[in-house]
Amino acid sequence: MTTTKIFRAAVFLLFSLMGVAGLYFWMHVEFVAAVQIIVYVGGIVVLIIFSIFLTQEAGVEMPKATNTRLIFSTLASICGIVLTTLLIDQYAFPEISTMALDASPNNIGTNMMDYTEKGYALPFEVISILLLAAMVGSITIALKSKPEEV
């Protein structure tokens, strides 16, 4: 069921991420859709494609998974889908509000920088420090280790 060509898998991932961005556009949260396209399609998929080129000899096909693993993971996924679908179908959500969601970049930015109790300034700071730490960490990990000096 899964493709054995890793580059094709990356291209399929790109299209499904674009589809999710389209869903955000349809739900009228244009800012999140734009962030989705910029970060995922423009950042993560490109990073994944580069690392495929760096780690995979071109044209080498991945080995197929063993039959037992295929059977059990199909079983687990289908059971999960059926169970969750039944649960969602039977759950009575509270009355759907008809108010429109104001997700304009203006409103998002005002809320993001707000440091009163309704604002999100603290998570914003925390996420900035996390991103910085991740950048430094990944550079340190990926650095070529110097040959040992005698």
């Binding site: 069921m1 899964t2 890793i6 898998a9 991932l13 499904s16 991420l17 999710v20 869903l23 955000y24 739900m27 949260v29 999140v32 989705q36 970060v39 995922y40 950042g43 993560i44 990073l47 994944i48 690392s51 495929i52 760096l54 780690t55 995979q56 991945m62 295929l70 059990f72 993971s73 199909t74 687990a76 996924s77 999960g80 889908i81 969750t84 969602i88 179908d89 959500f93 759907i96 509000s97 108010m99 429109a100 969601l101 104001d102 997700a103 409103n107 998002i108 809320n111 998570p123 996420i127 996390l130 991103l131 991740a134 950048m135 960490g137 990944s138 550079i139 990990i141 990926a142 070529k144």
Partner: protein
């Protein structure tokens, strides 16, 4: 037919379990990373849908989505750095081949 919250939740459920299927069957680290991205995306869809349909007066779900996207980017950067380092040492990115820290 009108699209309701339930339909969007069906979509994100199937996206989540497609990602889980990929995570179970693949043994190549990069494809497993792609499966994790799918799972994170399904969670994002859920947050935005709940925010839009049930609590449109607040923006909590949208903010959670934005923060999750940022965390996913950081996670992908660190994971790819680790994968490239492992490839340099082992010449392979199959999870079965990297067992240095197992015991």
């Amino acid at each position: 037919m009108e699209v309701t919250l339930t339909h969007i939740l069906f979509l994100s459920t199937s996206l989540f379990f497609i990602g889980m299927y990929g995570l179970f069957t693949r043994r190549n680290m990069i494809t497993m990373l792609m499966a994790i991205e799918l799972i994170l995306n399904s969670v994002n869809i859920n947050f935005v849908a709940f925010n839009k349909y049930l609590y449109p007066e607040e923006l909590t779900g949208v903010f959670f989505t934005i923060f999750i996207i940022a965390i996913a980017a950081a996670e992908a950067a660190v994971a790819i750095a680790i994968i490239i380092h492992i490839y340099r040492d082992h010449k392979s990115i199959d999870v079965e081949d990297s067992q240095d820290m197992k015991y």
